[in-house]
């Protein structure tokens, strides 16, 4: 009895704290995300195989004559910025796909979109290499986007046939496997020293990004983020269902095309420069929903972007430093953190009697 009473009181106290927390949830949540973003970004600049102190890192960052200049900017910063931009792009792409399919475990990797991009991209790269041409950034994105759209086409065709959420995911995973298998095949049979790098890339890594790539990445991801943000209103309407969205004045057809193109561009850009990265797209939107307790796109879009950036910074930090000097592929780290979240989401929905 007594312990019951006490836990009741404690429960009430927690509920009280919860209410107070709800009032400041929005500013506090974004403050935490921003702090984590800068914190982990800086940690990524400090940590690495070559020991650098905090002051060394600051020196390397702001002083062009610093002995640490190369290691901090040209080795580490050139990796931190794409981790931020591409991580954000992945999470945002996942959020858009989840909205589009009304399916909480949709994401660019799970639906096979990343793998489709990877396939077309590796075929293109090998094709160019065999003629002695190194494909440039724009070509990479274009090839990757084409692959993403091809996979997306398959997934869409399936989604018209089967309405069950689990079936869609299974089909997506299968498409992913098929594309990965063919990619593996193509890479094995292409005999070139450059292909070794291609193999690294096919596992997913931020290590191969160059400064001129970073500019292209920013030029693609940032406009896509802005466009997505300005689609907040129709996304919010679409969350109620297609019929209601149309009744509220959304041009549903055009809107669906916009969603597909945006999520495709975002995930294609990621795949083009960092390879397929698993689970960020599925897991981060859920973490953000838990953090902000809302589905409103006006909040979710910036939150997902920041959350994806932080998630990838943390994962890349672990990938680089956990077994230094050996480096893990980024996907193996994101999967360790992301997959359990997906399982939890599915269990929770099962409990709530979801589809």
């Amino acid at each position: 009895m007594r312990s019951n009473g006490r836990s009741g009181k404690i429960g009430a106290a927690f509920a009280g704290i919860g209410r107070v927390f709800d009032a400041v949830r929005l500013p506090l949540g974004f403050a935490v995300l921003l702090a984590a973003l800068f914190g982990f970004a800086f940690w990524n600049l400090v940590a690495g195989t070559q020991a650098t102190s905090v002051s060394d890192a600051i020196d390397g960052l702001f002083n062009p004559q610093s002995p640490y200049r190369v290691i901090v900017t040209d080795v580490r910063l050139v990796r931190v910025i794409p981790a931020i931009l591409l991580g954000g792009a992945l999470a945002l792409s996942g959020f858009l796909l989840q909205t589009f399919f009304a399916n909480p475990i949709a994401g660019p990797f799970i639906l096979g979109i990343s793998s489709g991009a990877k396939l077309v991209l590796s075929v293109t790269m090998i094709g160019f290499l065999s003629r002695g041409i190194v494909a440039n950034s724009v070509m990479l994105i274009a090839a990757s986007f084409l692959g993403a759209m091809l996979s997306m086409g398959f997934v869409l065709a399936i989604s018209y046939k089967v309405k069950r959420m689990s079936m869609l995911i299974i089909c997506g995973v299968m498409i992913g496997y098929i594309c990965s298998a063919i990619t593996e095949f193509v890479i094995r049979f292409a005999d070139d020293s450059n292909i070794v790098k291609l193999h690294d890339w096919a596992m997913g890594s931020f290590a191969n990004v160059k400064w001129d790539n970073v500019i292209v990445i920013a030029a693609v991801v940032i406009p896509a983020l802005i466009v997505t943000f300005f689609l907040s209103k129709p996304i919010g309407a679409y969350q109620l269902g297609e019929g209601y969205a149309q009744n509220m004045g959304v041009n549903v057809k055009a809107f669906r095309v916009a969603l597909i193109l945006l999520s495709g561009i975002l995930s294609a850009c990621v795949t083009a420069f960092a390879g397929p990265i698993s689970f960020v797209g599925v897991a981060v939107p859920h973490l953000m929903r838990r953090l902000f307790k809302t589905e409103k796109p006006l909040i979710m879009i910036p939150a997902c972007f920041l959350g994806g950036a932080v998630f990838c910074l943390i994962c890349d930090l672990i990938a680089r430093t956990a077994f230094a000097p050996n480096e893990l592929s980024i996907s193996s780290v994101t999967a360790v953190f992301g997959a359990p979240i997906v399982i939890l989401v599915m269990l929770k929905r099962q409990k709530e009697g979801g589809r």
């Binding site: 209103k233 969350q239 109620l240 209601y244």
Partner: protein
Amino acid sequence: MNGTYYISAEKMTVGYDGRPLIENVSIGVRRGEILTLIGPNGSGKSTILKSMIRQLKLIAGTVVLDGRDMAALKEREIAKKLAIVMTERIRGELMTCRDVVETGRYPYTGRLGILTKEDKAVVAEALETVHASDFADRPYNAISDGQRQRILLARAIAQEPEVIVLDEPTSFLDVKHKLELLDILKTMVRERNVAVIVSLHELDLAEKISDRVVCVADGRIDRCDVPENVFRDDYIASLYGIRTGRFNALFGSPELPAVEGEPQVFLICGGGSGVPVCRALQRAGVPFAAGILPESDLDYPVAQALSAELYAIPAFSTASEAGTETVRARMLEIGRVISTVPTFGETNASNRVLFEAAKAAGILISAEEFLRGSDA
């Protein structure tokens, strides 16, 4: 006449994938009026509604909204004039009821959809209209079906439309919530002069709230008329293809078929006292005779539907002595009598004769006793 319709379908052919399901649909509704679609399952009520709100492509014909062809109107223009409450379930994850209602302001807000003070006031008023203010801030997924339906209606109201289209809004609700919802609709029509198109399953409710009724059956609009001309026993029975049982127009409800066979008991009834016994006998599977009822009696429609033999006289008349004698003989022949008539007066003097005769013969039995006996 047509000019006064706020929204109307003109020679509309509707169906899925270009295959016509219902042809030549011409219906319309004025402001301040409720138009109800009734008809059997699968007759195409929802198809007509979905076509009128542009969720389905028309195969032929036009829909005119406020004097203009709807096909030429922009989504946003339509959104300010027409709101819907459909059967598709909305995904309200992590949304409060107020959030759901706020989406109704969509056509009025700016690019980012941020609500102004005026918008919030409209939302609060819509919540008030459907009596949902007290649970407005609860999660949408945590409320009951009846409450959800009200929230969806509030969402439509917040859209400040001139016409609301509802597809079977009462389907999953209990009696209380059904009445509440329809009462809100009636109030909306009266106070805001909106036009309402609604499809309903419940004929009794349709009869009560409709200004005009559209009957959909067999791939066509069978009838479009005022409820008085639609809710007739024989017409409803034929519309729904009821062969077993019958539709009771007076009560607006269907009756199960009578138990046929040689009557095992005679029921003296009148003034509504016989209805529960008629139903009980029907449930127990006992064929029975009933009388003597004027056609104007409250018991008449139910007794007529459920009895194997009925002794009736014209409305507001009294039975002749000779007639009473025939019935008395038949009653004694049946051999058991239940009487539910509490008092006898001038107009049911003939039933007093029957009652006295049964009493004298010692064959009077209470309904409870009889039913207990027939169970055993």
